[in-house]
C-alpha cells in the first residue's frame, strides 16, 4: 500500500543546532504512527517541515507516491496534510462553524450556512463532537475545541493528520474521547501521526512507533513488538553507561530552612500550568534541582516563589516567616535573587546601558541621596566578575546589543551583587558556552558552601546530576518524584519526567 506521505533524507539546522537528520519516515492509510521522544528530540520540527511551516535544508517528500515540494502550510493543506498544534489556531470569539468557514478556500462570497453546516454536522457526528455549532469556540471545553481543530483540518481536505502532543492540554477524562476519535479516523483510512513523549499513550493508540533522539529516528517498531523497556531504552540510550560522572558525594544539607512551600495550589490560569498541592523545602547551603519537560510548571513555580504569582491555597515561608502575600520587592529585599528563563524579556532593560541595568533592582544598595553610587557598583561588578571568571562586560554599551551569553552574565552579575541567600535559577546555562557553564556551576558550588540556597531548574539532566544535592521532578504541576544523589541516573529520572512510572 502506498504510503500517504513519505519523507527521506530530511536535514534541518537552526544555526549550529542539528534539529533533524531523518533518513526515512512514512505514514500509510489507516495507520497511526507515534513519534516518540524526549523534549527537544526533533519530533515537532520534523512534522512542521511536513506541514510546510519550516523548510528543510535537505530532503525529499512524496505524497501518494508522487514527489512534491512543500513550501508553506497552504501547500501542505492542498496536498492533504493537516496539523493540529498545541495552541489551536482558533478564534475564541467566533462560532464553531465560522472558525471552520474561515479556513475553507472554496466558500461563496455570501456564505450560505446550510450546505456548509450540513457537511460539518455529519462530520462532527462521526467525530462525536456534539456541540451547537453556533457556540463561540471560546465557550467549549478544551477537548471539544481540539475536535473543532481536527474538523477544520479534515474539512479542508486533509488525509494525513498530525497531532502535536494532543493530550498536553486535555483533562484526563477528555483523553478517552481523543483516543476514540483517533481510532475512528484510522478506521476510515486516514493516516495519523501522533507526537508525544508519553509512553503510555503510545501503547494505547499507535500501530507503529518511531522513536526520535537528538534529531534522528533511532528505531521504528510495530506496536505489538514494543515494550516499555525497549522504548525507554531507545529514548534515553544505553542504561549501562552512566550518563554523568558525578563529583564526590557531598554532605547532606543540614542548614536552616530557607524556603518552605506547603500544599501550594494556584488558581486556574489560561495558558499557564496550574500547580497542585505542591510542597517542598530548601535549606541553606543546598542546591535543589528541578527536572522535568519544560512547560510542566517550572516557570509558574519560580513566579510563585518570587511573589509574581498568587496561590489559591497553601502557604509559602521564607526563613520561617509567612511570605505568602509578600510583594516581589519585599521578597527581593529579603535576599531572594532570580535568574529567569528569558533574560532579555524578563530581567533586562534593553535600552539602558550595562551599568544602568546593574544598578536596578538592588534596593537601597546603590542609592546615594538623589543619585547613584557608581563607585560601589563598579566595585561590586569587579568582585563578581572575578568570581565568575568571565571577561568584563562593557559597562557603557546598551544591553540590547549584548550577545545572549553576555546578557545572561549581566543578569547573574546583578543578582549576585546583593549577596542573595536564595537564588531561583531557570535554565541559567542556556546560551552560555562551555567555559561559561563551568564557571557558573563552580559559582553555584561556591555559593552553596557559603550557605546560599539554590533552586535550579534545568532540562539538562547531566547538569542537574552534577550540581544538585537533591532532585525533584515536576510533571503537570505537581512533584512526580524525588531523588537523592545515589539515584541520579537518567534511566530512573527520565521515565519519571515522561510519566512512565512514578517514583515516590
Amino acid at each position: 500500500m502506498t504510503p500517504l506521505v513519505e519523507a527521506s533524507g530530511v536535514v534541518k539546522r537552526f544555526g549550529s543546532l542539528l534539529a533533524n537528520d531523518v533518513a526515512e519516515f512514512a505514514v500509510g492509510p489507516g495507520e497511526v504512527v507515534a513519534l516518540l521522544g524526549e523534549n527537544g528530540a526533533g519530533k515537532s520540527t520534523l512534522c512542521k517541515i511536513l506541514y510546510g511551516y519550516y523548510r528543510a535544508d535537505a530532503g525529499e517528500f512524496r505524497v501518494a507516491g508522487r514527489p512534491v515540494r512543500i513550501a508553506s502550510p497552504h501547500d501542505a493543506r492542498r496536498l492533504g496534510i493537516g496539523m493540529v498544534f498545541q495552541n489551536f489556531s482558533l478564534i475564541p470569539a467566533l462560532s464553531v462553524w465560522e472558525n471552520v468557514a474561515l479556513f475553507l478556500g472554496n466558500l461563496p462570497w455570501a456564505i450560505g450556512p446550510t450546505e456548509l453546516r450540513r457537511r460539518m454536522r455529519s462530520l462532527a457526528e462521526r467525530l462525536r463532537l456534539s456541540v451547537d455549532l453556533r457556540l463561540p469556540v471560546g465557550r467549549l471545553a478544551v477537548g471539544d475545541q481540539q475536535k473543532v481543530e481536527i474538523l477544520k483540518q479534515l474539512l479542508a481536505g486533509a488525509r494525513v493528520l498530525i497531532l502535536d502532543e494532543p493530550t498536553k492540554v486535555l483533562a484526563p477524562q477528555e483523553t478517552e474521547g481523543l483516543f476514540k476519535t483517533i481510532a475512528e479516523l484510522r478506521n476510515e483510512g486516514y493516516g495519523l501521526v501522533y507526537i508525544t513523549h508519553k509512553i503510555r499513550e503510545v501503547m494505547t493508540c499507535a500501530d507503529r512507533v518511531a522513536v526520535m533522539r537528538q534529531g534522528r529516528i533511532v528505531g521504528t517498531l510495530p506496536q505489538r513488538e514494543a515494550s516499555e523497556a525497549t522504548l525507554l531504552g531507545l529514548m534515553f540510550g544505553d542504561p549501562s553507561l552512566p550518563l554523568s560522572h558525578r563529583r564526590a558525594p557531598r554532605p547532606a544539607a543540614t542548614g536552616a530552612t530557607v524556603l518552605e512551600l506547603a500544599g501550594i495550589t494556584t488558581p486556574p490560569d489560561a495558558g499557564a500550568t496550574v500547580l497542585h498541592n505542591l510542597s517542598l523545602t530548601i535549606h541553606s547551603g543546598e542546591v535543589l534541582g528541578v527536572a522535568g519537560v519544560s512547560g510542566n510548571g517550572q516557570r509558574e513555580l519560580a513566579e510563585l516563589i518570587l511573589g509574581l504569582r498568587r496561590s489559591s491555597r497553601g502557604a509559602k515561608r521564607l526563613w520561617g516567616q509567612d511570605a505568602t502575600h509578600w510583594s516581589p520587592a519585599r521578597i527581593r529585599a529579603r535576599g531572594v535573587a532570580s535568574i529567569p528563563d528569558d533574560p532579555l524579556a524578563l530581567a533586562i532593560i534593553p535600552g539602558l546601558t550595562v551599568r544602568e541595568n546593574l544598578a536596578l533592582g538592588n534596593g537601597r544598595r546603590y542609592y546615594a541621596g538623589v543619585g547613584l553610587d557608581w563607585r560601589t557598583l563598579n566595585a561590586d561588578m569587579e568582585r563578581i566578575r572575578t568570581r565568575l571568571r568571565s571577561p568584563p562586560l562593557p559597562p557603557d554599551t546598551r544591553a540590547a546589543v549584548l550577545s545572549g551569553g553576555n546578557q545572561q552574565r549581566l543578569v547573574l552579575t546583578r543578582e549576585l551583587a546583593h549577596d542573595p541567600k536564595l537564588i531561583v535559577a531557570l535554565y541559567p546555562t542556556r546560551g552560555l558556552d562551555r567555559r561559561g557553564s563551568v564557571a557558573l556551576q563552580e559559582t553555584f558550588d561556591a555559593l552553596r558552601v557559603g550557605g546560599v540556597a539554590v533552586l535550579l531548574v534545568s532540562e539538562d539532566l547531566d547538569e542537574l546530576f552534577t550540581m544538585s544535592d537533591r532532585l525533584i521532578v515536576l510533571r503537570d504541576g505537581h512533584i512526580a518524584g524525588t531523588f537523592l544523589p545515589a539515584s541520579f541516573r537518567a534511566e530512573l529520572v527520565g521515565p519519571c519526567m515522561v510519566g512512565a512510572a512514578d517514583a515516590a
Binding site: 489556531s89 478564534i91 475564541p92 465560522e98 474561515l102 479556513f103 462570497w109
Partner: protein, 290 residues
Amino acid sequence: MSTSLSVAVLMSSIRSGTSLLYATLGEMVGQRAGIVNLGLEGNMLIGAAVGFAATFLTGSPYLGVAAAALAGMVGNLLFAYIVVERRANQLAAGLTLLFLGFGASALIGRPFIGVIITGLPRFGDFDPLVWLAVPTALLMGWLLFRTRWGLALRAVGEDPAVVFAAGRRPDLLQYEALAVGGLLGGIGGAHLSVAFTLSWDEGMTAGRGFIAIALVIFAKWNPLWAVIGALIFGGAEALQLSLQAGGADVSPFLMNMIPYLLTLIVLVFWGWNRRSAAPAALGRSFFGVE
C-alpha cells in the same frame, strides 16, 4: 409632555442621530478589524467641509455627499497607511488624522463661512441620508456577519495570525475596512453641513467623533445596537436644543461637556467591567500598552 411635543423631539432625535450613526458604523468596521481611529472627529470635519463646499460649487447636494464620502475615504486611507504599513502607534496615528482634519477642513471651508446652501431635500420629514441610515446599519450587519469578507475581517480583529495561517492577508483586509469606515465617516460629517445645519463653521462636529467612538463600545460592536445608541444620543442632543430654545437656565458650556464626559464614563465603565465583547486584538490599545 404633550404627544406632539414628544413626536417633535423624536423627529429631532432621529435627525440629530443620523450623522452619529453613520460615523459610528464607520468606526465600528475599522474596530472590528482591530484598529481604533481616534481621528474620527477629523474625518467627519473633512466630510462636512468637503460636502458643503462641493454642494455649493456644483449646486447638487448629492454630489456634495459623494465628494464628502470620497474625501473621508482618502483621509482614512492616509491613516491606514501609517497604522497598517508603518506599524505606528494607533492612538498617535489617530491624532495625526485629527490635526489634519481640523486644519484641512478649516482651510477648505474658509471661503464658505456664512454661506447658506439649499441642502438635501426632504422626503416626508427626513432627507435621504436619514431614510438610508437604518438600511445602512442593516447592510453593515449583513456585510460583517454574512459574507466571507466580513468573516475574515472580524477574524483579523481577533487574531491576525490565525487569518494569516488561513491564507488571507490581514493587512489588505484592514485597508479595506478603513476605506469603508472613512466613507461612512465622511458621509456622517456631510450630513451635518449639507442636511442638518445647512452651514459650515470651523469645528462644527463639536465632539461627535468622540461620541461615535463611545457608541461603538456602547453598541458592543454590533451595527443594530448602534442604531439604538445613536437614537439615544441624538435624543440627548435634541433635548438639549429644546431646553435651550425653551429658555432653560443651564449653561451651554456644561451641556457641551456632556458628550465628552459620557464618553469617558462609558470607557471607564467598560474598562472596569471588561467582558470579551471587544475584538481581541483591539483591547490592548484601549487599556494600557498597545
